[in-house]
């Protein structure tokens, strides 16, 4: 299986704090879930994979490109979709303008921009709000606009940091369906603290704690790890709790 994301011994420090510790990760096609408690390093790992920050040590190969090389980094970014944990936006932009702005920044060919934007907005269910200003949207709608900008360039690697935060149950179901579609063709890495997202959408999952990956497997593997563990309302949550307890013991 072709690995679209390869991280080898990746470390990231902010000052004296080591947020990522020798992370080794290979991800191929499909939906890959990143679980973990607050402060585990999920967001930093996603930012590193999105080339928003550089690793302090270690190496990365993203869609076969070396992000250290400016030319390759640019080529990779054309194929990247990224939704950060906190989505900033320009309140006076319309939904269409906001997504169009990112289509242009991602160097979508000029002739394809408008249809690509319309398609992305439609896919997140905001077709009827395309002309609405961002400042008039609810938190959940803004999150969907964020997803639209992430997918506007039909990315080969989609990195989503807490994508379902703020979405209502109906939208969450639609969103899971959307990323499953993407996962069939491309690579999707989803960071979430909602274990049900993982169960419903992910083909593979990793659990992070203290800056490192402490578990990697399928959702079924995670569920299996929870057998006999008392804490948690669902098999996945019990697996999550059991792995964390094991890692910390």
């Amino acid at each position: 299986m072709e690995m679209n994301v390869r991280a080898a011994e990746v470390t990231r420090r902010f000052g004296r704090t080591e947020v990522l510790k020798n992370v080794n990760l290979s991800v191929g096609r499909g939906v890959f879930g990143l679980l973990g408690p607050n402060g585990a390093g999920k967001t930093t790992l996603l930012r590193t994979l999105a080339t928003a920050i550089e690793p302090s040590t270690g190496s990365l190969s993203l869609l076969g490109f070396d992000p250290k090389d400016p030319g390759e980094r640019r080529a990779f970014r054309r194929r990247l979709g990224y939704l950060p944990q906190t989505l900033g936006y320009y309140p006076n932009f319309t939904v269409f303008e906001f997504v169009e702005y990112f289509a242009l920044l991602k160097e979508v060919p000029n002739k394809d921009v408008k249809p690509a934007v319309a398609r992305a907005i439609e896919r997140v269910g905001l077709g009827d709000r395309a002309k609405s200003k961002m400042k008039t949207l609810s938190g959940g709608m803004i999150r969907r606009v964020g997803i639209a900008q992430a997918i506007v360039n039909e990315p080969e690697l989609l990195l989503l940091d807490e994508p379902t935060a703020g979405l209502d149950p109906e939208q969450r179901v639609l969103f899971r369906s959307l990323i499953r579609d993407f996962g069939e063709r491309d690579t999707v890495v989803v960071s979430t603290h909602l274990v049900e997202d993982v169960g419903a959408a992910c083909t593979e999952v990793a659990l992070m704690d203290g800056g490192g990956i402490v578990f990697r497997g399928t959702p079924e593997d995670l569920k299996a790890r929870g057998e006999g563990h008392a804490i948690g309302d669902s098999p996945l949550e019990r697996g999550y709790g059991a792995v964390l307890a094991g890692a910390r013991s």
Binding site: R74, A75, E97, F102, K106
Partner: protein
């Protein structure tokens, strides 16, 4: 990108306001005064060119503030992370942001050029446009915008925009103010080196446009490269461009310091680049001559001058000519004998006051800036306090007669009358004399009065 950036630019929204401010300042600022009465209606290319260039004083700081606001927007909106992961180089994105802020201002500047240039092209009878001035203003505008962008990029707070605008406004005014301290770096301001108001047709403008273009263009490049460096990307290219821009700017600075034009005051009598011209004259009680650029105002000027001089016609020692000359202190007299001529700078009705002062005082132009007419310690003792309006003992009698001439011609009574002594009362007393008595006194004393040998005690 440019379309989106321009469409969302605050500068675009504010451009009508910027144009209005620039237009108002340009027309009120024309002829270097805020007083509407001094607008003579004569269009002169150099004044139009310098007015356009000087509009940067208003437009530049504004657009700098708007650029700073636009530059800090991504940081304030928490967009940095997301934007940094997009394919398009940050320099290209920043350039679009800069263009979005600067282009509306450039459009305002060009529109102002049309609004000022068209009537000048239709009506001016002297001179030609000064493209150097036009370019200095344009490049200074781009520089202001780029400096604002850099400020907003490095300090993306909400207060950066107003602070950048105020800082640049001060930066543009400061070099001109420093001249009074003996520090001549006026070329650092885009508004510097306009000719003295009203003097522009008499002397060539200072030739510092190339130096200023290098200086401002270089600084514009430095600011943009600093933004590119901060944004990452091709750092080596940005560093090289930064060094090159800095070198261009330094070259402009160094060459400006070494030009002979740096230490001259355009329009003044010692300015070496006087422009030759043949005055146009109208004969009358006093023959009135104006610069050909002001030919349109010759009839009005002749009427105003002769209204002032009418009571003096036929009296020996009264000047035969009233001649327009550069209003700069110590300006050349255009070949006219100062004993036979009275000089004025502003044509039209504005000539009235100057002629009234000059006709009774042959030494008027020996008091450059009227510096020696300031109160002495003795005067202050005599008056008891610093007089609000001051009448100097050396010109008291002349001021009274000049005030009377102005008053009867419909002008202002006097400039230097006031509290110590109250010359207004003396003017009134002189005006109340019978025509025969006054004429007799003038025939007997005018030569002495004009030579400064008549005192208040000699007045009837």
């Amino acid at each position: 990108m440019l379309r989106i950036e321009t469409r969302r630019s605050v500068a675009l929204l504010l451009s009508p306001l910027i144009l209005l401010a620039a237009w108002w300042m340009a027309y009120n600022g024309m002829y270097g005064t805020m007083y509407e009465a001094s607008w003579t209606g004569v269009y002169i290319w150099e004044e139009t060119s310098s007015t356009l260039k000087d509009s940067v004083l208003q437009i530049g700081p504004l657009v700098a503030g708007l650029s700073a606001w636009a530059a800090g927007r991504n940081r304030r909106r928490g967009m940095d992370d997301l934007l940094s992961t997009t394919a398009r180089p940050s320099a290209s994105r920043d350039l679009a942001t800069w263009a979005g802020a600067a282009l509306p201002a450039v459009a305002v500047y060009l529109l102002l050029a049309v609004l000022l240039g068209v009537p000048t092209a239709l009506e001016a009878t002297w001179g030609a446009p000064l493209p150097g001035y036009f370019l200095v203003g344009l490049v200074a505008l781009l520089m202001d915008s780029a400096l604002g962008l850099a400020a907003g990029y490095y300090l993306p707070g909400r207060f950066t925009a107003p602070l950048a605008a105020v800082a640049l406004y001060i930066a543009h005014l400061l070099p001109m103010g420093m001249v009074d301290l003996g520090i001549n770096y006026t070329f650092l301001s885009p508004a510097a080196y306009s000719n003295l108001t009203g003097a522009d047709v008499f002397s060539e403008p200072a030739r510092l446009a190339i130096q200023q273009l290098l200086l401002f263009g270089g600084l514009c490049g430095v600011a943009l490269c600093a933004v590119a460096l901060k944004g990452g990307g091709a750092r080596k290219t940005a560093r090289i461009a930064l060094a090159a821009s800095g070198a261009v700017s330094a070259a402009g600075f160094a060459t400006a310091l070494s030009t002979e034009d740096l230490y001259v005051f355009p329009g003044s009598g010692d300015y070496p680049k006087a422009v030759a011209y043949e005055p146009v004259c109208r004969e009358g009680g006093i023959t009135v001559c104006v610069h050909p650029a002001y030919e349109k105002l010759l009839p009005e000027t002749a009427r105003a001058v002769n209204e002032v001089a009418e009571p003096l016609v036929g009296i020996p020692a009264v000047p035969k000519y009233a001649v327009q000359s550069s209003p700069a202190p110590g300006a050349a007299t255009g070949g006219f004998d100062p004993d036979e001529a009275v000089f004025f700078g502003y044509a039209g009705k504005l000539a009235m006051d100057e002629v009234a002062d000059g006709i009774v005082d042959s030494n008027l132009y020996d008091h450059p800036g009227h510096e020696d007419l300031q109160p002495t310690q003795e005067d202050l003792r005599r008056c008891g306090k610093f007089p609000r309006k001051y009448l100097h003992p050396d010109v008291e009698a002349q001021t009274v007669v000049g005030g009377w001439l102005r008053m009867r011609a419909g002008g202002s009574r006097s400039v230097y009358t006031g509290e110590c002594p109250n010359a207004d009362k003396l003017v009134d007393r002189f005006a109340a004399l019978g025509p025969t008595e006054r004429r007799a006194w003038l025939e007997k004393n005018f030569a002495g009065l004009r030579a400064g040998k008549v005192t208040l005690k000699d007045l009837p």
